[in-house]
Structure formats: structure tokens, C-alpha cells
């Protein structure tokens, strides 16, 4: 997960070995599927950051277009993060009624609804 890097690097002063151990632990403990989801999350985050930078540095003129694009990244990010926590086997007892397949269907439905509103709002 990308926020791992950005947030912890700011607090990197205590020991760089801690970050290293975190990375190590993440690499060791996380199943491949979740890593795949995390890669998607990193991509979404980069895309959102890029849009936000453009908005700040250049212009926010079609504000609805900016909001549509930016909230599509945010919405997709949280939906994917929700999917990640739902399918994470560590959280199995928290999500008793949501199987991984159900979680994926929910994710798909949520994304479709989200992108319907995004397209409508782009103008």
C-alpha cells in the first residue's frame, strides 16, 4: 500500500531499519492477491495526486470536471480498499456475511454506480 511509504518516510528518522522491516513484513505476510489490489491502489493514488497537483498548480477552471475526476479516484480508492479489507483473510470474523465473491460483486456494483455519477458530472 502506497500510503505506507509516504507516511512512514516522513517519520523515517528513528530508524531506516524499521521501514525495512515493515516492508519485509508486508512482503512476507501479504498474499499475492492483496498485493495485486495494493498495486491498483498505488496507481489510483498516483493518478489522484497528479490531478490534484494540476488543479493546484495550473487551474481548477472546469471545477466540476476536476471534482468528477478527483472523486472518481477517491471513490475508486476507498471502494478498492473496502474490497481489500473484505477479502483479507485476517478480517474473516468481522465480515461474516460477506464472502469474497459477494465482496467483489459489491465492489463492481459500487464502482459502476460511482462511474455513472462521474460521467454524469463531467459535463
Amino acid at each position: 500500500m502506497a500510503p505506507t511509504k509516504s507516511a512512514s518516510s516522513s517519520k523515517a528518522a528513528p530508524s531506516s531499519s524499521a521501514i525495512h522491516s515493515l516492508w519485509q513484513a508486508y512482503n512476507d505476510e501479504t498474499p499475492d492477491r492483496l498485493k495485486f489490489v495494493d498495486a491498483f491502489l498505488v496507481f489510483i493514488m498516483l493518478s489522484g495526486a497528479l490531478q490534484f497537483l494540476y488543479c493546484i498548480l495550473v487551474t481548477n477552471f472546469p471545477f466540476n470536471a476536476f471534482l468528477a475526476g478527483f472523486s472518481s479516484t477517491i471513490g475508486q480508492f476507498v471502494l478498492t480498499a473496502s474490497l481489500r479489507s473484505q477479502v483479507n483473510s485476517e478480517n474473516k470474523d468481522e465480515f461474516k456475511e460477506v464472502s469474497p465473491e459477494r465482496a467483489f460483486a459489491d465492489f463492481a456494483l459500487g464502482s459502476i454506480v460511482l462511474h455513472f455519477f462521474v460521467f454524469n458530472f463531467l459535463g
Binding site: M1, T4, S8, K11, S21, L22, E29, N64, L67, F117
Partner: protein, 775 residues
């Protein structure tokens, strides 16, 4: 296991379950029927028309939607409202209500049921009240069980606090909004319980519908974040909360911005910042949890925690700075006046002038909720005892809504659902206890009492009892307790060993009392609905001495006179209360209407009404006013007339022109507001006074004329009018319409022209006839 009354033994669990669900369906159908039927008093007693003021605009907009289609409605610019300015309707309304009736209209026409759009508008609120009862059932089911849900649905179906805003003919936003409110909350609870993004999405979609339907959506926008925040602060953060909140917020916020009237508000006003803040907080917490799960070292955990807290503080600081700098708009006056209750009266008289915005008196709580208001705290206490996540929601909702309902009469409407829910929970808990046929084991009781210190002897019987209770509830021989305890956790079973009710007499006493209370509730609701909330304000009903009904229909009489006897583009000036009705019924352009978006324009009308004719006339001419319409109740004692509203006109005008209009001028030197001989000069000169009492004293044929609203004697010599003339006065003098005269052709001011015409009339006539004779 002793039982208080015998139970049928040969029923299979499947039969019990099927019967229970059949009973539920029948009960819900009957509740829907009761909810719809109890709202029809106004239609049955009078006729199927739109009541009140606001619904007339909604109706007019819906007619545009039904006749011209959705795109025309969406881009509708109404040049007849706010006369010189016009109104962009598509961008200044919540279109959910009109769209709903439009969809129903098209659907009914598609299946060859050509129903008039007016009847759809009239019957929309009763129809949706049935849905509200169902949504309340679903919501309460999540809190306790189906039986509590049914009780809540029954309460919600007939409770006067909700009926008052949803009788047939009351075509207002609240008609569908309460259903959407309850269903959004239901979906939210469900999403939170299951941690399902699906229900989060459903909550977001219904939130979107709610945003499109009612300005009260801000209540949801703040309730859900508040609930989440309390959950976090109580250490109840779970991944389910993250999933539910994130999916609701991300989709809900984006969708709410699709409504043109809301626009960018969700990212730029203070009302919505709480939701954004909690969203950010949840991301931080979720992220730190993820790191926690991967990190072994303890120091590093504290470092991460510190950085997370500092990020949170930075975010809060950022929101605060943006608000202070003005990038995020502060609270609007309407919202702010709910915290600072003196604010509206001081700074925005137009908000304070609406009678619905006054604080609520105690009797109206009882009037609207009857015995539910007494069960309400008991239900909240029950929620405290259970205290699952959804119970916290109910507690917060109860506290917040109670406060708002205390501040503003109109917000009683948002309190009503939660009162029904909590009261139903409390009552069903009571009934559960007293209907449950299992009696506590007397021997266990005795053993517990006899040997409280001796653990061994006490434990054995209680263990036995527990086993027996489990067996009893599992066995098919005990269907009713099965049914009652369907969703109850094992705790009640445990409780039933030591606590419970002995014998039939106590049960019957309590259940009989409860039943009587419920019956009285039904009687009260019916009585309140029929006597207080089912009177259309368009027609006034009074009773003749012989008991028959006498209908005063002056409003429509006058509006139809306007509609049929004036030019189509004749501009009508009236106080803003009647703007929508004039546009809806008389179909004429108005200067101001109930959508009070332009305070200065309203103040202009207030100034014209409260100043003398000479001052008012240029204002009238500049605004192309052809007719002035006022409401006068002095003849038949209709108290909601314009003389009683006159002080608000003065106040609103004074807010804009403080040096021309001063409120104290309209009082007598003693500080009284009078209309008789002692009335102040400004009062007597004001256009409103002159129009109201013009020719009024003639009506009494030389006797003392009395104003029956103010109970004051009207001066014998009535006011005279120079710049306007009486055009129409309705049968009971409720509506009086005056025409504004054109400028004098000779360029004199109208006052001297009138004086000239009156003074010289006799001398003029003779030469005229003589000349004619010569020719």
C-alpha cells in the same frame, strides 16, 4: 419448566414460521391501509385539491414536467415569478418530488390508467406514508426484532406528528423525504452491521434521492458522520465501519453534487465538512491499523500513532483555516439560527417571520405523539442497555432530533420517526416480557434466595434451569416464545431463569393496560388528524348554528376573478405568502413569492405596503404593478390576514431602508399596535391600512364598525384612495384586489387630479350640457 398458559404442542417450526410471516404481511398491509386511509379526511370532507402555499409551486412545477417533459422542466426559466427578475426554477428547487410524481404519472399512463396529474400530486403523500411505515419496520427490525418493527410501523403509519405534513393534498417535499430518510438510515445500519459495500451503495443512492427531494438532507449528512465519530471515539472502529462509511461517503457526496441546487456545496460549505472530516479520519485509522498489523516493534507503533494523530490535527487545522479564510462558506442563516436561537429574530426577520420556525411548546409534543413521547425515553434506555452499533445510532438520533424539535416546531417531523422506533422497541420489550409463557423456576428462585453464599447448591439448579430453558425454546412445543424470541440473543434465555413473571393475573393486567393505551393512541391519532391537520387552507370551513358546514371560498373566488378578468401579463403584487397561490391559481406574474431568495425584493414590497400612497406609487409604477392583492380578515374574523402580518412587512422593509421605514412609527405613543382612532399617523397613511379598511365602515350602515380580528372599532370616516382603486372584493371581504391607476394624462399627480375632479364636478356639468344643447 412451568408455563403460565398452555401452548399447542403439535406445531412444526415451519408452520410457526410460515404463519408468523403471513401475519407480518397481513399486518403490514393493514398498516399501509390505515396510513393511507387516515390521511384522506381532507379529500373526503372537502375536495381533492392542493393545500397550503408551497405545494402550489410544487404542483405547478409538476404540471410543467408532466406536460412538457423532463428536459423542459430541468431547464425551466419562469419569467412570471419575481416579476422583473424571473426565476431559474431548474437550479433553485429540489426536483425529487416532481420527478417522482412525473415517473408515477408516466407509469400510470403507460399502463392505460390516465390519471390526472393533480390527483397524483394530491395522493402522493398518503402513498409514500405507507412506504414510510414499511421503511420504519425494516429499520426497527435491525434494532430489535420483527414484532418491534411491526409496532413501529403501526405507530409511524398513524402518528399525527407525521400526518401533519403528509395529509392528502399536502404536496410538499416532506411527503417523500421521511420515507427516504428512514430508508437511508436503514441501509446505513445494514451496511454497518454487515460491512457490506452493497448496502453502502444503496444508502448512497437513497441519500442522493433524499438530496434531490428535501433540503433536510443535511440532517443525514451530519447524522451518519456523527454516528461514525462516536463509534470511533468509543473504540468501536471496525473494518465494517470503514467499508460502510467510505462507500456511502464517496458515492453519496459525488451523487449529491448532481443536484443543481446543491452544486458544489458538499465541498465548499461548513454543513458538509463534518462528513469530509470523518472520512479523512477513517482513512487515517484504517491505514494505521494496516501498519499495526505488519509491525512488530512497539516504539515504531507509537511513532506511527503520533504521526497519524498529527496528520489528523493538521487536517482539522486545514479545515478550520479554510473556513476562517472564507474558502469554505460558513453556516447559512437558516442552519445557524438553530444553534443561536436568537440569531434569526435579530438579523434575518424573514426567517423568524415564518410561524413554523418558532420553538415548540410542551403540549404540541403530546398532541403530536401522545403516549409515544412517554415511551420514548424508555426506548432510549433500552438502547443504552443493548448498546450495539445500531443502538448508538438511535441514541444519537434521539438526542439530536429532540434538540432540533425543541428549537423549531417544523423539525418535529424529524423527531417523529425515532420516537416511533424507540417507543415501539420499549413497548415490544414490555410485551415480550409479559407474553412470554415461561415462568421462572420457583425452586431456583428459592435456592438462590436461600443459599446465596453457597455457590455449589445454587449453581446446580440454575444450570438445570438453563438446560431446560434451552430445550424448551428449541422444542417445537413452545412456538410462541420461539416467535417472540426469534431474534433475541441467548441472554434472554439466561435471564428467564431468575427473572420472569409468575401467574396469569399480572400478565393480563399489564397486557390489558398496554392494549388500552394502544387503543387510546389510535383514537387520539384519528381525532387529532381529523380535527387539527385535515383542513385545507385554501377553503375555510366554519359551522352553521344547525351543525351543517359552511365553506368560505374567498381565496379561489378572488384568484379566479384575477385569472379571468385581467390581462394575462398583469403583474400582481402581494405579500410573499400568497405568491405561489397566485401563480398557481390565478396564473399571473407576481413580484415576490414563498421562495424567499431575494430579501431586497421582498423588502421593496414591504416598503410599498407600509408607506403612504405618494411614496408607494412610484415604486408600484417602476415595477409595472397592475394589481395589489391583500388579505383582510376583519369582517369574518380570519386572523391570518395582512394587518396581522403587517409588522413583519415593516420590519423587513426597515432592514433595508432604516431611515425611511421605522417600526416604532406604527405604534401608538403608548406602544400599542392599534387600528382604531388612536392609530398612529404612519399606520393610517400606510397603503396596507388604507387598502384593508377602504369602505369598511360603510358596510355597517352608520353603526360602529368593528374589526373582528383586532376587536377594535374602526374610525367612522374610512380612508380614501387616490392612486389606486378598488377592483375586486370577495364575498366575505377576505381578498381585496386593487388596481393601480395610470398616471394622469395631464401630468398632474393623482392626488390633486382627484381633488380637482371631486371639487369641481358640479360646476363642470352645467356648461357641458349647455354646450351640447347648442350643438
Amino acid at each position: 419448566m412451568p408455563v403460565a398458559y398452555p401452548l399447542p404442542k403439535d406445531l412444526s417450526p415451519a408452520t410457526v414460521a410460515n404463519t408468523a410471516s403471513l401475519l407480518r404481511i397481513v399486518a403490514l398491509a393493514l398498516i399501509s391501509g390505515a396510513a393511507i386511509a387516515s390521511r384522506l379526511f381532507a379529500v373526503v370532507n372537502f375536495e381533492s385539491i392542493i393545500h397550503e402555499f408551497d405545494p402550489w409551486f410544487n404542483y405547478r412545477a409538476t404540471k410543467v414536467l408532466a406536460e412538457k417533459g423532463f428536459y423542459e422542466f430541468w431547464n425551466w426559466f419562469d419569467p412570471t415569478a419575481w416579476y422583473p427578475l424571473g426565476r431559474v426554477v431548474g437550479g433553485t428547487i429540489y426536483p425529487g418530488l416532481m420527478a417522482t410524481s412525473g415517473v408515477i404519472y408516466s407509469f400510470l399512463h403507460a399502463i392505460n390508467l390516465p390519471v390526472d396529474i393533480r390527483n397524483i400530486c394530491v395522493m402522493l403523500a398518503p402513498g409514500f406514508s405507507a412506504l414510510t411505515a414499511w421503511a420504519t419496520y425494516m429499520f426497527t427490525k435491525e434494532l430489535k426484532d420483527e414484532s418491534a418493527g411491526l409496532l413501529a410501523a403501526a405507530f409511524m403509519g398513524i402518528v399525527p406528528g407525521y400526518i401533519s405534513r403528509s395529509v392528502a393534498g399536502s404536496y410538499d417535499n416532506e411527503a417523500i423525504a421521511i420515507f427516504l430518510l428512514m430508508f437511508t438510515f436503514y441501509a446505513w445500519i445494514k451496511a454497518l452491521k454487515q460491512g457490506s459495500a452493497f448496502f453502502g451503495t444503496v444508502a448512497a443512492v437513497f441519500y442522493f434521492y433524499m438530496v434531490a427531494a428535501w433540503g433536510g438532507y443535511a440532517f443525514i449528512t451530519n447524522m451518519i458522520p456523527l454516528h461514525s465519530l462516536v463509534l470511533i471515539l468509543m473504540g468501536r472502529y471496525t473494518n465494517r465501519l470503514y467499508v460502510a462509511y467510505s462507500s456511502w461517503y464517496a458515492i453519496g457526496t459525488l451523487s449529491s453534487m448532481q443536484v443543481p441546487f446543491v452544486g458544489f456545496q458538499p465541498v465548499s460549505t461548513s454543513e458538509h465538512m463534518g462528513a469530509l472530516g470523518v472520512f479523512g479520519l477513517l482513512q487515517i485509522i484504517a491505514f494505521s491499523q494496516l501498519i499495526h498489523s505488519h509491525l512488530p516493534s512497539k516504539q515504531f507503533k507509537t511513532v506511527v500513532l503520533g504521526s497519524v494523530i498529527s496528520i489528523g490535527l493538521l487536517g482539522t487545522a486545514a479545515i478550520v483555516t479554510l473556513t476562517v479564510r472564507g474558502s469554505i462558506a460558513p453556516w447559512t442563516g437558516r442552519f445557524y439560527s438553530m444553534w443561536d436561537t436568537g440569531y434569526a429574530k435579530k438579523y434575518i426577520p424573514i426567517i423568524a417571520s415564518v410561524s413554523e420556525h418558532q420553538p415548540t411548546a410542551w403540549p404540541s409534543f403530546f398532541m403530536d405523539l401522545q403516549f409515544l413521547i412517554f415511551l420514548f425515553p424508555a426506548g432510549v434506555v433500552y438502547c443504552f442497555k443493548q448498546l450495539r452499533d445500531e443502538h448508538l445510532f438511535v441514541i444519537i438520533y434521539a438526542v439530536v432530533a429532540s434538540y432540533f424539535a425543541g428549537v423549531m416546531v417544523r423539525l418535529m417531523l424529524t423527531l417523529t420517526p425515532i420516537v416511533c422506533v424507540t417507543a415501539a422497541v420499549a413497548l415490544s420489550e414490555l410485551l415480550d416480557t409479559y407474553i412470554d409463557p415461561q415462568e421462572p423456576d420457583a425452586s431456583a428462585e428459592v435456592a438462590d434466595v436461600a443459599a446465596p453464599s453457597d455457590n455449589a447448591s445454587a449453581a446446580t439448579p440454575s444450570k438445570k434451569v438453563k438446560k431446560a430453558a434451552a430445550a424448551a425454546s428449541a422444542a417445537p412445543s413452545n412456538p410462541i416464545s420461539d416467535l417472540v424470541n426469534a431474534n433475541a440473543p441467548a441472554k434472554t434465555k439466561k435471564a428467564s431463569k431468575s427473572r420472569g413473571i409468575f401467574g396469569l393475573d399480572t400478565r393480563i393486567a399489564v397486557i390489558f393496560n398496554t392494549t388500552m393505551m394502544l387503543l387510546f393512541f389510535v383514537a387520539h391519532c384519528t381525532w387529532v388528524t381529523s380535527s387539527a391537520y385535515s383542513s385545507p387552507s385554501v377553503v375555510l370551513a366554519s359551522t352553521n348554528p344547525d351543525g351543517s358546514q359552511h365553506i368560505i371560498d374567498d381565496f379561489r373566488e378572488a384568484y379566479y376573478w384575477l385569472r379571468q378578468n385581467t390581462a394575462e401579463d398583469a403583474v400582481v403584487m402581494s405579500w410573499w405568502d400568497y405568491g405561489y397561490q397566485i401563480a398557481g391559481m390565478a396564473d399571473r406574474p407576481t413580484l415576490v413569492d414563498n421562495n424567499t431568495w431575494n430579501n431586497t425584493h421582498i423588502a421593496t414590497v414591504g416598503k410599498a405596503m407600509s408607506s403612504s400612497e405618494e411614496v408607494a406609487y412610484p415604486i408600484l409604477r417602476k415595477h409595472d404593478v397592475d394589481y395589489i392583492l391583500i388579505i383582510f380578515g376583519g369582517l369574518i374574523g380570519y386572523s391570518g390576514d395582512d394587518i396581522n402580518k403587517f409588522l413583519w412587512m415593516v420590519r423587513i422593509a426597515q432592514g433595508v431602508w432604516p431611515d425611511e421605514i421605522q417600526e416604532p412609527n406604527y405604534f401608538t405613543p403608548q406602544g400599542d399596535y392599534r387600528i382604531d382612532d388612536q392609530a398612529s399617523q404612519a399606520m393610517k397613511d400606510s397603503l396596507m391600512y388604507k387598502m384593508s379598511y377602504y369602505r369598511f365602515s360603510d358596510l355597517f350602515g352608520g353603526q360602529q364598525a368593528t374589526d373582528r380580528v383586532r376587536n377594535q372599532a374602526v374610525p367612522k370616516v374610512g380612508p380614501t384612495l387616490d392612486y389606486i382603486e378598488e377592483a375586486y372584493t370577495s364575498e366575505n371581504w377576505i381578498v381585496r384586489i386593487y388596481a393601480v391607476k395610470k398616471e394622469d394624462p395631464l401630468g398632474r399627480d393623482l392626488k390633486s387630479a382627484n381633488a380637482f375632479a371631486e371639487g369641481k364636478k358640479r360646476k363642470r356639468t352645467k356648461p357641458m350640457t349647455r354646450r351640447r344643447a347648442i350643438i
